[in-house]
């Protein structure tokens, strides 16, 4: 291959071909799907946080002229298996609390679905749902995870005697020795509050059961079309081969849409009863109250350190408020928090006890960053507090403890195996990019004038691609090693289509996969299309999750494209009467190396392969397609290890508690960059979620279990006005185990940013005598801290 071919597209800031349809409003979301004879579903939901269902009466509802059907929990339970629950720790045995798609006997959170109705139009569906009469007998409500653990507390599930949904313990290194050696131990209770990912497109499904073919076609807003198909087959006892899941354009996922929504199952049941397509698009209120909640954890940590700032060990008890039911991917956000407690630092000892407790809240599951967001928050905040205690600079204490390039690959005491990079270099570049010393002087000057700015600093190594995760999702269909299988086909026209079994949720799969495939094949970017999300035409895949696209899926694309290239070369060689080894392919043409006059277009090559098969020699199979798998390295729980340093500058108006992010520097390294613009988009987007999560977003329940923040008027997502400009500094240390050197990076923005924004607020106000160990850092909370400080001081 000549030099000019290498990396022609990879590494370029290319606009996304997929933008055209998004910007022009021409994308197809589930709500854009309209099938002939389609009817509409609405859910009857519990107004109580905890109650026994005494009766459900649909008579009046069915009298509504537009009513078609009412499916109650009692009927649904007979027609379906409970929602699946798997653990990440393959060895972990869990008592599964039964999670029916519609509650039949008891409701355990406000807005839990108890029945689903079908009507001829969307408006009538809500009217019909309102007419379903449900009699409840209220039961005691559990809203505090610590109270849930008490023996005297009500029990939410018959098979969970202590309200503990899951209990994991992990240890590593020598925790006793680490603490024995310590000059000091920092002991703190850290708390991250309940909030969640908010895809602007809420959940939605069109389920269409074809009676004649006994086939179920499901258009769903999902990150996991294939896994959804597998789960639906299990839950509905329906042959997998007769289910087709199509995930059209996805208006955001953030991990929330890794869930097999109970509502999706109920809508499928409805369609199977009616023999008609049924559409359900959830409302924002349903989305905020009954979809997925996340983050909510109490972390009691002890960190041992030496006088000189050397960190020795961490021990932590994590209590997760898991809400009413265990989600299929239970333990992920919990285990992640535990695993990430060690940060990018050399530690000698580690212990972590993790419990998931049941309460009468919306079920808890994945949200971008998974568990790591909480673990990183705890270790980064602890390092800051230890620095304060020792009078050290926050950058210097990190420098002292950072794992060095020559130590990589490095196995942390929690069991992560970091692959490559230079963490200290990233720290230095961040300090330089914000102009740390100058900023500190400015901060000091402003303080004298009663203006308080804080310089945030946080860093971590992200795990991109999860090995055991895959097992959790589709056991027993998928082994415990992540992989991707890609099909790539040249069409009769010479254009190329890539088939991938996941869905792009703003993650730019179209442009990045095309860049890699175009380079590997020698075709032009504009001659490549991507087909995703349709289980009938794409290879099996575990979905868009865990930042696995670049590190796991892309190598598969590259491999399949190379394999297709050799097929193209064979046919071209036949046409040009040359040896396949002598064929070069560039810009959509094949030619004999060094002999540009002997050229054939790929269109002609494809024509021969498809339509003039009689002319092919017998050893060349017809068609022009390749399918290849890439198997991820499995020496660690995750596949690749990008890392980042975040330094936001936040102003805190201490009189009102209002915060403003003034500036934001990101240094990051995700190995070889396919498209730096896409990388920046991911880093910035994730960081905005961190700004939202720390400063604005909060799911607030009252003591009766009513959600007080169930609209976007009260659940505050940051808007353009609340978000600063970002400076992104790129580093690129190739992933040593991944062909091409790519590392995933989609989640990290929503990990580092939390710790960084918290650190910035702390830096702005801690000198006034408060200590920041919990979130949200809302105006009300900041004022409360200031008030309590005044009381302490007085």
């Amino acid at each position: 291959m000549s030099d000019a071919d290498e990396g022609a597209y990879v590494g370029q800031r290319l606009a996304r071909p997929e933008d055209r349809r998004f910007i022009q409003g021409a994308a197809t979301y589930v709500d854009d799907v309209a099938l002939p004879g389609m009817v509409f579903a609405a859910f009857v939901r519990s107004p109580h946080a905890h109650a026994r269902i005494k009766s459900v009466n649909a008579e009046v509802a069915l009298d509504h002229p537009k009513a078609l059907h009412v499916l109650t929990g009692a009927e649904a339970v007979k027609a379906s298996h409970p929602m699946p629950v798997y653990s990440y720790e393959p060895a972990q045995k869990i008592e599964k609390p039964a999670y029916p798609c519609l509650a039949a006997e008891r409701v355990r959170f406000v807005n839990e679905p108890v029945a689903v109705v079908a009507a001829t139009d969307r408006y009538s569906a809500d009217d019909v749902a309102e007419l379903v009469e449900v009699e409840y007998e209220p039961l005691p409500v559990l809203m505090d995870p610590e109270v849930s653990l008490q023996e005297s507390s009500a029990k939410l599930h018959d098979n969970l005697p202590n309200n503990i949904g899951l209990h994991l313990v992990r240890q590593g290194g020598d925790i006793k020795a680490a603490f024995a050696e310590a000059d000091g131990v920092l002991r703190r209770r850290f708390r991250m509050h309940r909030h969640t990912g908010s895809p602007i497109e809420p959940r939605g499904i069109v389920a269409s059961y074809n009676v004649g073919q006994n086939a179920l076609t499901v258009y769903a807003s999902t990150q996991i079309p294939h896994i959804l198909k597998t789960h639906l087959s299990e839950i509905l006892d329906f042959p997998e081969s007769n289910i087709r899941v199509i995930a059209p354009d996805l208006g955001g996922g953030f991990g929330n849409k890794l869930q097999v929504a109970p509502e999706y199952v109920a809508v499928c049941l409805l369609s199977m009863r009616l023999g008609a397509p049924v559409k359900w698009i959830e409302t924002r209120r349903e989305s905020l109250s009954a979809f997925i909640h996340a983050r909510d954890q109490i972390l009691d940590a002890e960190i041992a350190y030496k006088k000189d700032g050397t960190l020795l060990g961490i021990s932590c008890n994590i209590l997760v408020d898991a809400g009413a039911y265990l989600d299929a991917r239970i333990s992920g956000p919990t285990l992640g928090a535990g695993l990430w407690l060690t940060g990018p630092y050399r530690l000698k000892g580690y212990f972590c006890d993790m419990k998931e407790t049941m309460t009468n809240k919306c079920p808890y599951a994945a949200y971008r960053g998974f568990g790591s967001t909480k673990g990183v928050f705890v270790i980064e905040r602890s390092v800051d507090l230890i620095a304060n205690e020792l009078g050290m600079d926050r950058a210097e204490i990190r420098r002292k403890n950072l794992i060095q390039p020559e130590e990589l690959p490095y196995k942390t005491v929690s069991g992560l195996v970091y692959d490559s990079g230079d963490y200290e270099e990233a720290l230095d570049r961040a300090l330089q990019a914000v102009d740390y010393q100058k900023l500190k002087a400015e901060q000091a000057a402003l303080r004298k004038r009663g203006k308080y700015i804080g310089i945030g600093l946080a860093m971590a190594v992200e795990g991109a691609g999860w090995n055991t995760y895959t097992a959790a999702m589709a056991r027993p269909y998928v082994p415990t090693q992540d992989y991707s299988t890609i099909t790539i086909r040249m069409n009769l026209s010479g254009r190329v289509t890539i088939y991938i079994g996941d869905t792009s949720m703003g993650t730019s799969h179209g442009v990045t996969a095309s860049q890699v495939a175009a380079d590997a094949l020698g075709v032009r970017l504009e001659d490549i299309d991507l087909v995703e999300g349709d289980t009938a035409v794409t290879p099996y895949d575990s979905g868009t999750r865990a930042a696995r696209f670049a590190g796991v899926v892309i190598p598969g694309v590259e491999k399949a494209a190379k394999s297709l290239r050799s097929k193209v070369a064979r046919v071209a060689a036949h046409i040009l009467e040359a040896a396949p080894e002598d064929i070069e392919i560039r810009s959509g043409e094949a030619f004999v190396r060094g002999l540009r006059s002997k050229t054939v277009t790929l269109q002609r090559v494809a024509q021969v392969a498809f339509a003039e098969v009689w002319s092919l020699p017998p050893d060349i199979p017809p068609g022009m397609e390749a399918t290849e798998s890439f198997r991820a390295p499995r020496d660690s729980i995750c596949v690749t290890w990008p890392y980042s340093v975040h330094m936001p500058v936040v102003e805190v108006d201490v009189e009102t508690g209002i915060t403003k992010v003034l500036k934001y520097v990101i240094v990051h390294d995700c190995g070889t960059e396919i498209n730096p613009m896409v990388v920046e988009g991911q880093a910035v987007g994730g960081s905005v979620q961190g700004i939202g999560g720390v400063l604005f977003e909060e799911l607030v329940y009252d003591e009766d279990g009513q959600l007080l923040t169930s609209t976007f008027m009260d659940y505050l997502l940051p808007t353009a006005c609340e978000v600063p400009n970002f400076d992104v500094v790129h580093m690129a240390t190739p992933a040593p185990q991944i062909p091409g050197g790519y590392k995933g990076m989609g989640e990290g923005g929503a990990v580092y940013s939390y710790a960084a924004v918290i650190s910035a607020v702390a830096d702005a106000i801690e000198h006034l005598g408060v200590e920041v160990t919990s979130t949200p850092l809302s105006p009300k909370r900041i004022r409360q801290m200031m008030r309590e400080r005044a009381v302490v001081a007085a």
């Binding site: 609405a42 969307r122 408006y123 569906a125 809500d126 009217d127 409302t283 924002r284 209120r285 009189e655 009102t656 508690g657 209002i658 604005f696 909060e698 607030v700 007080l708 923040t709 609209t711 008027m713 009260d714 505050l716 940051p718 808007t719 006005c721 609340e722 809302s778 105006p779 009300k780 004022r783 409360q784 008030r787």
Partner: protein, 292 residues
């Protein structure tokens, strides 16, 4: 998020609208920009049987001055107030109050009449209109009356309007650079409703001694509340930042101070004096800038 069914009417004249409203009584609702009504309907908190949409009625959205009085048509959008050159020079506090309502989409559709009638305690205009001593022209098929802003707001979402009545015009006295003014909305995000809203109007003599102070707060009670203590503390004092701080410290909220997820009553009580102090300072700065 899915409203109940309703009848829809889009009359072409004000008289037609008022007749329809008179006919439907409690079952009818006017719709102006729909920015408050539609969310209520979508949550099924309001389910009017008939909507009388005002969008096709011409001539009720003008902003004009005559004899020192500014008359604003009830259907004038927040955006048109924000952009009005007349308001910017003759009643800038109202233009500023309009400019921080929600976001651009809300301001393009929402109207001053709708905002007044909706009477959200946290709304931007209400403290400003009370401070300005505004008067609202209110009309029904039976006739017209004029209600002072201070008498208009009765309770959270409750006004002096009868079901058959519509606000048609808002009247305020114009002022010039002799008045120091400020409207401020303390909110979590730029587009959110006020946690505390403040309207300040200050007048002074040639020596910058305060002759009149109007200080009204929003979002701290079911209706806008005049901070009489603060006003008394200012009048007769030279307008300095020390006087502002001193007067602001008198700010006192009543026992109906609301609590919600973003701001409990304690929070509001604590930040209200800060908001008042800052607004007074801004108003004083504007006033002293006039001399330069």
């Amino acid at each position: 998020m899915i409203p109940r069914s309703f009848g829809y009417h889009d009359p072409a004249t004000l008289d037609e609208a008022l007749t329809l409203l008179g006919e439907y009584g409690e079952d009818g609702k006017l719709m102006a920009g729909g920015q408050s009504l539609l969310p209520m309907m979508k949550f099924r908190l309001a389910s009017p049987a008939h909507i009388v949409d005002l969008c096709r009625i011409p001539g009720v959205d003008t902003i004009e001055e005559s004899n020192g009085e500014i008359r604003i048509g009830a259907l004038a959008t927040h955006r048109s107030l924000e952009d009005s050159q007349l308001l910017k020079s003759r009643c800038p506090i109202l233009a500023k109050a309009a400019s921080s309502i929600g976001d651009a989409q809300v301001r393009n559709l929402g109207t001053i009449g709708g905002a007044i009638a909706h009477a959200d305690p946290a709304a931007n205009y209400s403290p400003v209109l009370v401070a300005l001593g505004a008067r609202f022209v209110v009309r029904s098929a039976q006739g017209e009356r004029v209600v002072a802003a201070a008498d208009f707001y009765k309770d959270t979402f409750v006004t002096a309007l009868r079901p058959s009545e519509m606000v048609t015009e808002i009247r305020v006295l114009a002022f010039g650079r002799e008045v120091g003014w400020e409207h401020a909305k303390l909110s979590r995000r730029a587009s959110d409703f006020a946690l505390v809203g403040v309207a300040v109007l200050l007048r002074a003599d040639a020596a910058d001694v305060c002759t009149q102070a109007d200080v009204v707060l929003g979002a701290v009670a079911p209706v806008p509340v005049r901070m009489q203590g603060v006003e008394v503390a200012l009048v007769g004092k030279p307008l300095t930042s020390a006087a502002a701080a001193q007067a602001a410290s008198v700010t006192k909220l009543g026992d109906k101070t609301p609590s919600d997820v973003h701001a409990d009553a304690a929070y509001r009580a604590e930040v209200a004096p800060v908001c008042v102090r800052r607004a007074l300072e801004a108003a004083i700065n504007r006033m002293t800038a006039r001399n330069k």
